[in-house]
Symmetry: C2
Subunit: 431 residues, 2 copies
């Protein structure tokens, strides 16, 4: 898939959503709005003022205000508070002097890819399927992507196969993009032994892992696996983080945390950090200090950690996931031999394998005649391996919408399979 | 100058400023902090609430809040208000559907350059010297820059000479970056007849003008010249604008306004807009809607125009410019044959021609021994034509600092010229 076709599919989905505003969207991967009332203007004001008092520390508050409204440090103003949150909440040994605040995590990706892959023979390895933001950023900055096949059960095997193919063609993997926790779009978690094996390969071949962890704090069951950045002894992981899911997308604050050394070399890590800072100065100059102060103030108010803050959201997502799993089991019970799905232990997404091709045409038919919008996995794929699979999101809907949406989807699936599935809920197009 | 050396000089200046915090900086081109008290937290809150009420228009305000805190439209939420402000304040026939809100104007540049120059033989024409943000953005996105010589009195001649040289070498100019009003770093204004001549050339050769106008509203004398976007009948001007100078840098809101047609083709302009929107989605997803709401609320409060809002700032900058011009005349009176400067009719900058080379070493010596920091013009140059010239900023200082800073600079200049200049103010290093 090329740059414009990726953008085209996202446009297509937005258009479908606009055209059928009453259709239930199981396609949108945004966080729930349900708890945004906690971020009313009064709270935003308190956060801003709270950060100002903290930053003033006895100084003239007018001077702090002036500093806040001016151009500011390119690497960011709240690196210490963000580093503390990463240490407390995500177990990453982040340090303020190796951290870069970005205008959303996407900017971190857009900066890292061309910095890590300067030569035409350099490539970034990505899972196939993967998040469209990484392939889009790569292609916008003319960095070639190379897929890791997902046909093997073990991702490490897939990485080794890709590296072999690259080597044969005279190209070099310089970076490896991964969402190890509750992957978008697959929902899968990479276990600790695979994480260690990947790190060993990357250390040996000097490949930088771009570990993107937007969903890590949203685990609904089981034990957390340590982030690759926490397991990284060789100095090969850049940890990408965001406040879009924990606080709200509109704060547009992300961060890239560099390792202490780059493959053992502290000066190498410092030079890479400086390169990223310089690149950022030519893209967004510096991240809005108003937004940084809001996030900083909220972190101060929460004593540095967002664990308490996310509890209501976490509980909500867990019950949404459970509603989705039980409704999938109910509506697809008669065809359980030909339709399968995974049970994600966290995050926003799961995948359903269908016995037929699900394409853009199918999206439109589902929206038009069944009042439900779902995401074809082919939109995330670099080949045709995902053509019979869909991604369902349970983050931006409620249990009732999940029940109705999946009952509607089942009607469509039954029609495609030439098999009438029982109607479990009263369903009408556009409901 | 290459990417890393540009970044290196900016770093160097920041380091000097950090090392000599009490030195007077005539190098910093940021807007004055003096009126930032008008943007206290209460005012920011009112702006946010005011925009929310406007956007709600009878709707449930919780829904507006949710929309505000979510991911949002990539092209921006306040395109209508920004288009209105551009029509009212800058005479540009902007329209909401051809406008893209960016995370600061720098992002607009970073998006436009690779979009306009996709092929390796494509180049962007820039003045020599020029703003480092354009050469930095070009080099970060691997777009070659080609200088317009500034040795001829007429910029049109320079453009034609550059186009001839490009043609000889088989390369194509796809874009031309200009700051027609009170240029950074030179302070010059391109007059209306030259603007029309440039537009005729660009229309003929299908070169897109990137018209950057951060200083246009800060004119201290004389008649405003219409923006090139207002003179553009052929459809070749993208107008770049920012709220960093009118409101505050921390809002990080800029905009790119596309022409109605691209070289006569409405579909071409639409396709370029869509390409820029897609590229933005892979860099910053969308511009913070908190910041957009703040700017939107302030625009609503000001009935759409910032003319009244900027009056105190405008008066302050004018008196700073006058203080700088009269102090230059006073301190350099004894050497007026060998030292010259221009009288800018607006903006933040003027240039001083010196009878000796002024380099990084000179910056350090001025800071260390004379307590004043100035900007070598060589930092903005693509060749050695600017080696004996400095840029002085009068935007972020007060008249007293201007008087002391220039008296100190004169002592340094006298020492370099082997000629003692009269001490007009009591000056001590680090004052």
């Amino acid at each position: 898939m090329n740059f414009s076709s990726q953008a085209a599919v996202m446009n297509f989905l937005n258009e479908v959503a606009d055209e059928f505003p009453s259709a239930i969207s199981l396609a949108a991967g945004r966080p729930t709005d349900r708890f945004f009332g906690r971020l009313n203007t009064g709270v935003l004001l308190d956060a801003l003022s709270g950060y100002e008092r903290h930053a003033a520390g006895g100084q003239d508050s007018l001077e702090v205000r002036a500093r806040l409204l001016q151009y500011g440090r390119t690497a960011g103003m709240i690196t210490d508070l963000v580093a503390q949150q990463l240490r407390m909440d995500e177990g990453v040994a982040a340090s303020s002097d190796r951290l870069l605040i970005t205008s959303g995590c996407q900017e971190a990706l857009a900066l890292c890819l061309p910095a890590l892959c300067p030569d035409p023979t350099d490539v970034v390895l990505v899972c196939n399927p993967t998040y469209v933001g990484v392939t889009g950023a790569a292609q916008a900055s003319r960095v070639p992507v190379f897929p890791i096949p997902n046909t093997r059960p073990d991702i490490v095997d897939g990485i080794e196969q890709s590296l072999y193919e690259l080597h044969q063609s005279g190209r070099q993997a310089r970076a490896l993009y991964l969402i190890p926790n509750f992957d978008n779009p697959t929902g899968r978690v990479i276990d600790e032994s695979q994480r260690r094996a990947i790190l060993a390969i990357c250390a040996r071949l000097r490949i930088v892992v771009l570990e993107d962890n937007p969903y890590g704090m949203f685990r609904y069951e089981g034990q957390a696996v340590p982030p690759m950045a926490a397991l990284d002894e060789a100095g090969c992981v850049i940890y990408l983080s965001t406040f879009s899911k924990t606080l709200a997308p509109a704060v547009r604050i992300g961060a890239a945390t560099l390792p202490k050394t780059l493959f053992g070399d502290p000066a190498g890590s410092r030079a890479l950090w400086q390169d990223l800072v310089q690149r950022k100065s030519f893209v967004t100059v510096n991240t809005s200090q108003i937004n940084q102060a809001i996030v900083g103030g909220l972190l101060l108010d929460q004593n540095g950690s967002l664990q308490q803050w996310i509890q209501p959201t976490l509980a909500w997502y867990r019950s949404n996931r459970d509603a989705m799993l039980s409704q999938l089991a109910a509506v697809f019970e008669p065809v359980s031999n030909s339709i399968r799905w995974n049970r994600p232990a966290g995050g926003f997404f799961l995948n359903v394998d269908l016995p037929f091709r699900f394409d853009a045409e199918a999206v439109r038919e589902c929206a038009t005649n069944y009042g439900v919008i779902v995401m074809p996995m082919s939109f995330f794929a670099l080949d045709n391996s995902q053509d019979q699979r869909i991604r369902l999101s349970f983050s931006a809907v409620n249990p009732e919408q999940i029940r109705i949406g999946l009952a509607s989807l089942a009607q469509y699936v039954g029609q495609r399979m030439g098999q009438e599935l029982p109607v479990l809920e009263s369903v009408s197009a556009g409901s």
